[in-house]
Symmetry: C2
Subunit: 291 residues, 2 copies
């Protein structure tokens, strides 16, 4: 018999940052029948207004002093990752002893370790839902965004708090997986941050090639090109922060990718058909295995 | 009043190469009510069988000597581009004086010039439909594949033959555009060949990164990753040939792309937020303009 949906037993939730992901957590909770209050925090009062209008949150705040902290037992950081440490310091004095702080950020590693330190004795549990769209803002929030999607918890222990956070996400439909925070940053540098960097760089190259020949290459978006570059339409602010916060792993994966690119170039240059077809075939097999 | 659909007045057509594109031309012609015979040529007799079975062609051949050349007034080269010159030489003796030869290849430039020479006095008209899928073979042929899609004719003159070929494609729903064959190769190296090279190299890098850390990165295909790498599932043989046939332009666009990648890397390395956000924002704007 499946467990009752209780979202880990959290009564009232504060979501800090009413962007696409924060908003999607809120509307998904409502959709799934979460009974408690959902509070929102955002410095942008327009976003709060919109979030209330679309029924994502019950009440919003732009001043931490006005938040009803005594009612809140789960805080979700959903702002850009670079703001996490500062926000951690700002909210710490207000937190009840058994409030849990978690996040939805794409970078973990050192950041998780620092947040754990800052918030102590309050528990911080790093979480990363592998879900999203290239759109921004609470107005683009998607109900059920996390259903069937992986969610990484970067914890090294199993206690009542981690079980509660795990249940919270499971009840939103996520498939929870535990991972070391440093391995997490390597994995997502590879499968997410690198592809975004590549998409941005590819469009940049086409802008420059267009100038070189005085022809607007974007008039010829052949088969696959739109799909391929869709993620280059992602938020520049969000991605600047991710690239910088996960700098070490991102630079490493870019180096590895440039090596592959140079290898491919060399095979073409030398007309080395055997190595060329091997590289293309191996990539194709691997990609097909994903479908 | 729109012109009657007469497919340029061609009576009977020979499609050489029963792959995805050749097959899609055939099934689209049938779908649109082409009245003449469609003959197919392929060295692979299995492919001929399939093409007849699915009703793509009326009759197929694996030996040029058996083709009813006296009936054919349009020949479409739909094999890998590297075979074009050899096929041109092979079929030349059989061609009637007013038969038109065209193609559906992704590389033009020098190849077009050479084919024009080889086939003279028979007319060769280079054509490149900007349409396709990552699948292969006549069994994956798509009716209406060319509808609403661009088709590039790489000609430098307007005569009765080019008008006929133009009408042929317009009647299949294509939006015909005339372009210099050398400019064509630069444009499609940039918007098609480079993105394919990048997708293959990206998957290759992830294979290597997986080995490095002993973790299967392909278990974590986050948001956007599948779309982004879909074209890496394209045919290795087709793409090896395209990369080699359009070598000069492909190498040039790879160099330009690696420059963009290194620039992005430098901004991340130096934490140069201003230049980083400018690059990401410009790419985003340009990409959004495509939707």
């Amino acid at each position: 018999m499946p467990l009752e949906k209780d979202f880990g037993g959290f009564k009232n939730i504060l979501i800090i940052g009413l962007g696409l992901i924060g908003g999607s957590v809120a509307v998904s909770l409502k959709e799934e029948g979460f009974k408690g209050k959902i509070y929102g925090f955002d410095l942008n009062t327009e976003r709060i207004k919109k979030a209330v209008e679309i029924g994502a949150i019950d009440e919003g705040f732009s001043d931490f002093r006005k938040v009803p902290w005594d009612k809140i037992d789960l805080v979700i950081l959903a702002t850009p990752v670079k703001t996490f440490l500062e926000i951690g310091k700002r909210i710490k004095p207000y937190l009840k002893e058994d409030t849990v702080v978690t996040d939805v950020g794409s970078v973990k590693g050192e950041l998780v370790k620092q947040l754990e330190k800052i918030l102590k004795p309050t528990v911080f549990i790093g979480a990363h839902p592998i879900a999203g769209t290239e759109k921004e803002g609470v107005e683009n929030a998607v109900k059920g965004l996390f259903k069937g999607k992986k969610l990484i918890l970067t914890i090294d222990r199993e206690d009542k708090y981690t079980q509660k956070v795990e249940k919270f996400w499971t009840d939103l439909g996520s498939k929870v997986e535990i991972m070391d925070p440093y391995l997490h940053d390597f994995v997502f540098a590879s499968v997410s941050h690198l592809p975004h960097a590549v998409a941005f760089a590819l469009v940049d190259a086409l802008i420059n090639l267009s100038k070189e020949k005085g022809v607007d290459l974007f008039l010829y978006p052949g088969a696959g090109f739109k799909d391929f570059t869709r993620i280059a339409a992602s938020s520049p602010t969000v991605w600047k922060d991710i690239f910088l916060e996960n700098k070490k792993e991102v630079l490493h994966t870019i180096d590895e990718f440039v090596k592959s690119m140079e290898k491919l170039k060399e095979y073409i240059q030398k007309e080395d058909e055997e190595n060329l077809i091997n590289l293309l075939s191996e990539s194709r097999e691997k990609r097909l295995s994903l479908d």
